[in-house]
Assembly symmetry: C2
Homo-oligomer: 263 residues x 2
């Protein structure tokens, strides 16, 4: 069956997810694009996949159909003329998958590992890039403060690629929840003064490494919880790196440190 | 004198720079924002500074006026109502500085150092971020292929901050100009197969390190010119990093390598 009318009930329901409020209420987010949908289906089954008639006969769509467990995932074919109103992506490829939220809320059960804490980060591109680097450098999880940019913002999703399904992501309501982890983890913040160069830092222990807000840095609350401070050595003329770059270099060093130790 | 009319000749001239063609023809680019204009005036004198009447009495504007050499730079005050048509920035702060292009074209006289070659990079945010990291990690210069995104694209400028004035940037017409540098430099490309981990790479020599296009990687032409290949070790599940992150990690390692050697 192909949906041809904008009055169709399922069409109207899917169109509602353009609205952030409906995404929040139903805890559903969207991923677009043939390649990324095909890749992510293997990670997690979507609830719905909307496919435009303009691409329904492509070989790649047949492959996606074969990968889908149709007892869980519903595929909806939509007349090309009305498909574009389901998305705000320019030049949509013609496929959207709808997934349940994937983040966790309870950090009380994390006991060991290397984590990145994003302390009110605001730029969607930075968040997406950090998730991608976190997967590349085998980070155990990313913790987002509630004030950090929406994880399910379409720009974040586009820049994470499929990594969003392969990285443990936590969103915490209150920063003081981190206090409960202080026995098991070193909380580390980036700072310019009285800080240790990451060239020399000992990354052996369980660590929660904080990356601060793009404009204001690490918040006072997290700064006061931190037991150690590190910096990335750089030219005197410049006093900060892009947040994604700074986070990625820290993750790269943590990963390298672990690999060198295990040699 | 305050420009009050859109018929004013200078106003019309400045407004023309919204157009890429006029920017190219006159070799002029724009920087916006009080903080960044103040910082960049110390690096290089702009030709013009347009200031909106809404901010002309601020203390920071007086400081900028005092820093300006008025034999070279012309300050133009513009009625707030018509100022916004000079820019496509939403929520403009009310100040725009106009500078001559700063890139160089002749790479034949570079003889030593660490350089980054951007091989048809397309994303303005990536280019801006790489310029910022290049300053942080004291890279000797960045070489852009002609097909790389426009250096003077407003998004590039916003993300470089003032680093654009403090990093040597070259734009080359043809990739084969790099062949002339092969005697003095190792040309290094990133690659997955038959490549050396950057953990172990010897960064002692003069190096031109290539970062490829976001979608297609390093071009065949540059690949064939390369004498060495490196990779950033990462999880098997992911096969690339964001271009800015990859470039920045390479620059970080080059800088660290140099500092450790000179110890």
């Amino acid at each position: 069956m192909i949906v041809e009318s904008t009055d169709n009930k399922t069409y109207k329901y899917l169109k509602g997810f353009l609205n952030k409020k409906q995404r929040r209420n139903e805890e559903i987010f969207l991923i677009e694009g043939i390649k990324v949908v095909k890749e992510t289906i293997l990670e997690k089954a979507p609830l719905y996949i909307a496919i435009s008639t303009k691409i329904m006969d492509l070989e790649e769509i047949k492959e996606i159909e074969n990968l889908v467990d149709d007892s869980y995932t519903k595929i909806i074919y939509i007349k090309d003329k009305i498909f574009n109103s389901l998305t705000d992506t320019e030049n949509s490829q013609g496929i959207i998958a709808y997934y349940n939220f994937i983040h966790k809320k309870d950090i009380s059960n994390i006991k060991k590992g290397k984590f990145i804490l994003l302390d009110d980060l605001k730029d969607p591109g930075n968040l997406g890039g950090i998730i991608r680097s976190a997967e590349a450098f085998s980070i155990d999880g990313i913790i987002l403060t509630k004030e950090t940019v929406d994880l399910y913002n379409p720009k974040v999703i586009r820049s994470t690629m499929a990594s969003i399904f392969r990285v443990n992501i936590y969103i915490i309501d209150k920063k003081d929840q981190l206090l409960d982890l202080k026995d098991d983890f070193k909380i580390v913040s980036t700072a310019f003064e009285n800080s240790i160069s990451i060239y020399d830092f000992d990354f052996t222990d369980n660590i929660i490494l904080t990356i601060g807000n793009e404009a204001h840095g690490v918040s006072t609350e997290i700064f006061n919880m931190s037991s150690e401070f590190i910096k990335i050595p750089m030219s005197d003329k410049i006093n900060s790196l892009n947040a994604n770059v700074a986070a990625s270099i820290c993750m790269y060093e943590m990963d390298k440190y672990g690999k060198n130790i295990s040699k």
